[in-house]
């Protein structure tokens, strides 16, 4: 009887020792969970940096209260505040997540939000910032073209030998600036159409921040009302910048020619 009891005791001890690692393993998060959680946190870091950068782009725009687009700038800043609040909420959820499944669900939700809401809005903000800056650049470049034109006329009256070369370069810069102005006007029309379609009050910070799925659907509606081809808009603005650069290359060439006179 004693021997039987001893055997039972030894078996119980051995069994408990054998299964204890499983309990320990079950209590600590799996490697897979930790990897997913860490990656998700990195994604959030990246996303926060994006929002900060977008905010800076808007802040850098010199638009006083009465100028065109001042109201739009304020609205876009409000939308960014909402995105920031939503990001904080998601970060908290990632930290509190207990299972791989909950992380997976959250990742799908966040990815959908970015694709349906955030990305388009971020592109609108980038393009809006580029448009405002391009307008200022075009003003400077057009002023320069007028001055250069007068100088070339003056040199033409003087009958300098290099006038043909100067006129060719002037035509080149005029053509480039004409193209840049055209691209700018097209981009401006797209942005203006978007803003007039979404002229209803912007989605509030609270609306975006308080819920995840609901918040994204609220902005979705707003964006769908003002469909915008962000990639076309970006191409037009990039084209405008390239043309302004080319115009200045021609101006510099002309300046070098005149220096040799």
């Amino acid at each position: 009887m004693k021997q039987r009891f001893k055997l039972q005791l030894v078996t119980a001890i051995c069994f408990s020792l054998a299964i204890s690692p499983f309990f320990v393993l079950a209590a600590t998060p799996s490697k897979d969970f930790t990897n997913r959680q860490q990656s998700f946190h990195k994604v959030m870091e990246l996303s926060n940096a994006e929002i900060q950068n977008l905010n800076k782009s808007l802040d850098d725009l010199q638009l006083d209260g009465n100028s065109e687009y001042a109201q739009e700038k304020t609205k876009l800043s409000e939308i960014l505040s909402g995105f920031d609040a939503y990001n904080k909420e998601v970060s908290e959820k990632i930290s509190k997540a207990k299972s791989v499944a909950s992380l997976k669900t959250l990742a799908v939700e966040y990815k959908n939000w970015r694709e349906n809401t955030y990305n388009l809005q971020a592109q609108i903000i980038i393009n809006f910032s580029l448009l405002v800056q391009q307008r200022a650049m075009l003003d400077t470049a057009n002023d320069r073209l007028n001055k250069v034109q007068k100088d070339v006329e003056k040199l033409g009256n003087l009958g300098v030998d290099q006038i043909t070369q100067l006129n060719l370069l002037l035509d080149k810069s005029r053509q480039n600036l004409g193209d840049a102005n055209q691209s700018f006007e097209k981009a401006k029309t797209i942005i203006d159409d978007y803003f007039s379609a979404t002229s209803t009050p912007a989605t509030t910070t609270e609306e975006i921040a308080t819920s995840t799925a609901n918040a994204s659907s609220t902005i979705d509606v707003e964006i769908n009302e003002g469909q915008v081809d962000a990639s076309q808009l970006q191409l037009l603005l990039e084209d405008g910048f390239t043309k302004i650069k080319s115009a200045y290359e021609a101006f510099i060439e002309m300046s070098a020619v005149v220096k040799k006179l």
Binding site: D32, F40, K42, S47, I126, R144, K150, L155, N157, Y248
Partner: protein, 155 residues
């Protein structure tokens, strides 16, 4: 004694200059040159006149200088070789500023495209069913690349 003195004093009342002396004195007074009050302060006047003269010279010199400078300026501006539009330094400075601004903007577009791609692929790997390897190092290096782009933006 007192009567003598009173009598002498009474006699003094009747004393008159001789007719010759009166005429001579009158003509002397009438013919003498008159001194005006301004002439009394002749030292001040001299100083003032000197000052007026020197300030006049200074003003005239300044006027000549202004005319000379204006003539030089006008000559430069009207000159056929005055070409403000094609001024080498102005154009270069303006072009540098515009190029820098354009490069920053184009970098910003790249940064957002890259960041969106990384975020999308990482979120996809987090949400997929099979277990994932530690992607933080990959994401970190991408973040570093993006940080580099961000640094380029502010340069």
């Amino acid at each position: 004694m007192m009567e003598n003195i009173e009598g002498k004093l009474k006699n003094l009342k009747t004393i008159k200059p001789g007719n010759d002396y009166s005429l001579k004195s009158l003509s002397l007074i009438v013919n003498s040159p008159r001194i005006s009050p301004i002439e009394a302060t002749s030292v001040w006047q001299k100083t003032l006149t000197g000052f007026r003269l020197s300030s006049g010279v200074v003003l005239a010199s300044a006027l000549v200088l202004v005319i000379f400078i204006s003539a030089l300026y006008l000559n430069t501006v009207i000159s056929p070789l005055f070409l403000p539009g094609l001024n080498d330094k102005n154009i270069s400075a303006e072009a540098d500023q515009i190029n820098q601004s354009i490069n920053i903007n184009l970098n910003e577009i790249k940064y957002h495209q890259m960041s969106q791609e990384i975020t999308k692929s990482t979120l996809e790997s987090i949400s997929k069913n099979n277990s994932i390897a530690n992607t933080t190092s990959t994401v970190s290096s991408s973040v570093e690349t993006i940080d580099q782009l961000l640094n380029d933006l502010v340069k």
